[in-house]
Every structure is written in structure tokens, then in C-alpha cells.
């Protein structure tokens, strides 16, 4: 979504609304950049040989990178980043360099007293395999 997109308002949101999908191609460079930005230099994300030695198919992306995509999807939709008050996810599958992750979100609850909206989130790779499950966000309006 671009910054030109109109932000959601509490009044306009309805249970069942689906956000536009967000697609991200994950590259080795991005994984390295995420390691730098987050401080997480675990070699399973950076060192091909080490990753193989511990039984992985090669370096894998940080689960937190995919979760950050979900945070971005929801924040862009809400309009302001600080509206995202809760975010949770289960990392169900590995994301490898070259994978394309598609992030989805659907409004499942709208609470008028707290002016909070709950969204179910998901992420799949290019083969349709779930890489994130049991994910949700709470957005405050």
C-alpha cells in the first residue's frame, strides 16, 4: 500500500473487511540488513555453512522479519503506526532467501467501547505454504 491510500477509520471498518495483500520478496541482503538493524546476528541467518551444519536447508530469514512485514501491513492500513497496540504470531515455516511472502489481514472484531479492531493475520510463501499462523493484531482508533 502506498502512503496515498486513505487510512481506515473506525466508522468505516467492518468485520470481514480484508486488507490489500502485501507481497515481499526476501533477499539475502535484506536478511543481513535485518540482522544489522535488530542486533540479531545468529549465524543461522547469515552463515550458509553453519546453517547447514545444524540441519537447516541454508540460511533462513528471521521470523521477526516476516512479523515486521505484518506490522507494516497493519500500520499502513491504520494510517498511524502507533495505533497498533498488539501484535502476535506463530512462526510455522521457514522463509529462505528468494522466497516471496504474501501477508494478509482480515478484520474479525470491532469493539465500540474500546474503539479497538482485531485483525487475523497470515503469511504464506510462493507455494502457498503458511509461514505464519495464529497471528493477530489489535488496532486502536
Amino acid at each position: 500500500m502506498s502512503s496515498m491510500t486513505a487510512s481506515a477509520t473506525f466508522e468505516s471498518v467492518e468485520v470481514g473487511d480484508r486488507l490489500p495483500e502485501m507481497k515481499k520478496e526476501v533477499t539475502r541482503e535484506q536478511i543481513t540488513a535485518y540482522a544489522e538493524a535488530s542486533g540479531d546476528h545468529n549465524p543461522i541467518h547469515l552463515d550458509e555453512e553453519f546453517a547447514r551444519s545444524v540441519g537447516l536447508p541454508g540460511v533462513i530469514a528471521h521470523g521477526m522479519l516476516t512479523m515486521a512485514f505484518l506490522g507494516q501491513l497493519v500500520a499502513d492500513w491504520a494510517g498511524r503506526r502507533q495505533q497498533v497496540r498488539r501484535l502476535q504470531a506463530r512462526f510455522a515455516g521457514m522463509v529462505l532467501p528468494g522466497d516471496t511472502v504474501t501477508c494478509t489481514a482480515e478484520v474479525v472484531k470491532k469493539d465500540s467501547s474500546s474503539k479497538r479492531v482485531t485483525l487475523n493475520l497470515g503469511a504464506v510463501n510462493q507455494r502457498g505454504e503458511k509461514v505464519i499462523t495464529k497471528a493477530l493484531a489489535e488496532v486502536e482508533f
Binding site: 535485518y34 545468529n42 502507533q82 501484535l87
Partner: protein
């Protein structure tokens, strides 16, 4: 195998100064092109809290097998927005150690406070340690 007696062990970070530069670096890494770098993205808690996770991973007494550790689940909840200029201290505590089949599960709960000792947010992390 991680000993259950380590439940309750905790680690505290040094105060982490949130800067627009650190927010921008994070946004750039995740491919977020939004203009605003004054407010931290929703998963930025991993950045200011990271040293607590790092201390856990490096604790020789706990002896986690970091090479076989994967991130199973994560949640963040925020009491208030995190802004550039905030100085945030995070305390992470091991709150659970259990087994599920061949997997070992370690739950780590983090509480973050700001420069005025007011709560900023919580994070809960489930680590899974695969068999070697």
C-alpha cells in the same frame, strides 16, 4: 536439556536510546517506505529488547543450544507509542521450560520501561530448541 530450575532467571538490558536513525535503519531493513521515522514500528521491541534475549542465549549456566534454537511464537503489546528520544530498559525473565515430544520449549517474557520508569510494553517469546 535445559534445567527447569532456570525458570525465574532474568536479564536486564542497558537503557536503549531510540533514535530516528535506528528507526529508519529498521524500516529500511524491512522495506517500509513510510515517511515517518519518529514512531517505532510495532515489532521494534525486538531491537530495544534484544540484549535481554542475547544475554539469555549467551548464559553459560542455562546453556541453551542456540544453533538449534528457532523462534516459535512472539507477541508484543504496547502501553504507549515508542518515540525517538525514549530511553528504554527491558527485563526479560524465563517463565517456562517444558518439552513437547523431542522439542524443548522455553518461554521468555519481557517488560519494558521508559526513562521515567513508566511501562512501555510487554513481549512474550516462545523459543523452540530442536533436537541436535
Amino acid at each position: 536439556v535445559t534445567d527447569v530450575r532456570h525458570v525465574g532467571r532474568s536479564y536486564r538490558t542497558q537503557p536503549f536510546l531510540v533514535t530516528e536513525e535506528s528507526i529508519r535503519q529498521f524500516m529500511s531493513a524491512i522495506g517500509d517506505t513510510a515517511a515517518d521515522a519518529s514512531i517505532a514500528p510495532p515489532t521494534f521491541g525486538m531491537v530495544y529488547g534484544f540484549d535481554a534475549y542475547w544475554q539469555l542465549w549467551q548464559d553459560p549456566e542455562v546453556g541453551l543450544d542456540v544453533g538449534h534454537l528457532v523462534h516459535g511464537e512472539q507477541s508484543f503489546s504496547l502501553e504507549r507509542p515508542v518515540r525517538a528520544g525514549d530511553r528504554i530498559t527491558t527485563t526479560g525473565e524465563i517463565t517456562g521450560i517444558s518439552r513437547r515430544g523431542a522439542l524443548e520449549l522455553v518461554t521468555f517474557e519481557c517488560q519494558s520501561i521508559d526513562q521515567d520508569d513508566h511501562p512501555v510494553g510487554q513481549a512474550t517469546c516462545l523459543f523452540i530448541i530442536r533436537p541436535a
